[in-house]
Amino acid sequence: MKTLFRALVILLAGIALGLAFLPLGTTSWAENQRNRRGRGRPPGASLERPASPPGADGTAAAANGGGENFRGGRGQPGAPGGRGGRGGPGGEQGLFGHFRGKQSFTGDALRFTQIIVIQLGVPAGLTLALLAYARRGRKSSVSA
């Protein structure tokens, strides 16, 4: 019961801290970012890029900002005599973004490996090395 009450206090503190971040959105820095990034996808828009029109040499329409989760659109079959559109380009990559346009087991496994090895493992390994170094230094200064 005491733990739940404490969790509630922490939750409220977190909400208060979160709300304190909201004014960030009204700063000139935020406005500059918005102008630089464009207006983003309209509400309700699909994550998929639009497919190329039949027969067109299918470059999918450019994603309108944002775009981390965009996937390349599939080309529609061509009109009689026309060529089928080519798939649109894949989604824009984030810093550690998405390297594929289709769901695949290998892609999913790669993404999780990337998170665990690069994003979690490298900082953890560096910290462990630094901690070991600091502890060794402390031990040797005590024995000296």
């Binding site: 977190g14 971040f21 990034r37 993404r111 998170i115 900082p123």
Partner: protein
């Protein structure tokens, strides 16, 4: 100059410590699941992220004594490791709050499902992505700071008393 002995932080009882470890494993699994929206899909990413909030709150509540104890002593004498741990935990808490707020603002699935209209905002989207890229690294450092405790728990042995492990 004489070194003042550091007052010992209260050690949790074994049963509570085991529960804490299991809770932390649950937290890590849910956290990893939220890390890859391209794999899980946006709806699951958003619902799991909302679900992680009470898990984090309870994780912190289980370590309440350490938080209060070290915060009280933070202006006085503390070992470098404990101080670093405290600052890291503060950073984690602040970045988690920012991650949640930005995520809620740019929510595409969970909030619209609850009847809250979706607002498209490039700034919050960018901030959410930036925080989401930094946050796992902070978690990696957090795990490393408690590595001895984690290894002791996995081996079923008693963690070393000098280790800050077992604390947030």
């Amino acid at each position: 100059m004489n070194q003042m002995p550091e007052p010992a932080v209260s050690q949790p009882a074994p049963a509570r410590d085991n529960f804490k470890f299991r809770w932390d494993v649950l937290l890590l699994v849910v956290f990893l699941a939220t890390c890859a929206p391209s794999v899980t899909g946006i709806p699951l990413h958003e619902w799991a992220s909302l679900g992680i909030v009470p898990i984090v709150a309870i994780h912190l509540a289980l370590n309440w004594n350490w938080i209060i104890d070290v915060t009280r002593r933070s202006l006085g004498r503390l070992s470098g490791e404990v101080r670093f741990n405290h600052v890291l935990d503060l950073l984690l808490f602040a970045s988690f709050a920012l991650l949640m707020v930005s995520g809620i603002i740019v929510s595409e699935s969970a909030l619209p499902a609850l009847g809250v209209p979706r607002k498209t905002d490039g700034f919050w989207n960018g901030l959410h992505n930036a925080t989401a890229n930094i946050f796992p690294s902070l978690i990696g450092i957090h795990l490393a700071m408690h590595w001895r405790w984690i290894v002791a728990k996995l081996r079923g042995t008693k963690p070393a008393a000098s280790s800050p492990g077992g604390q947030p």
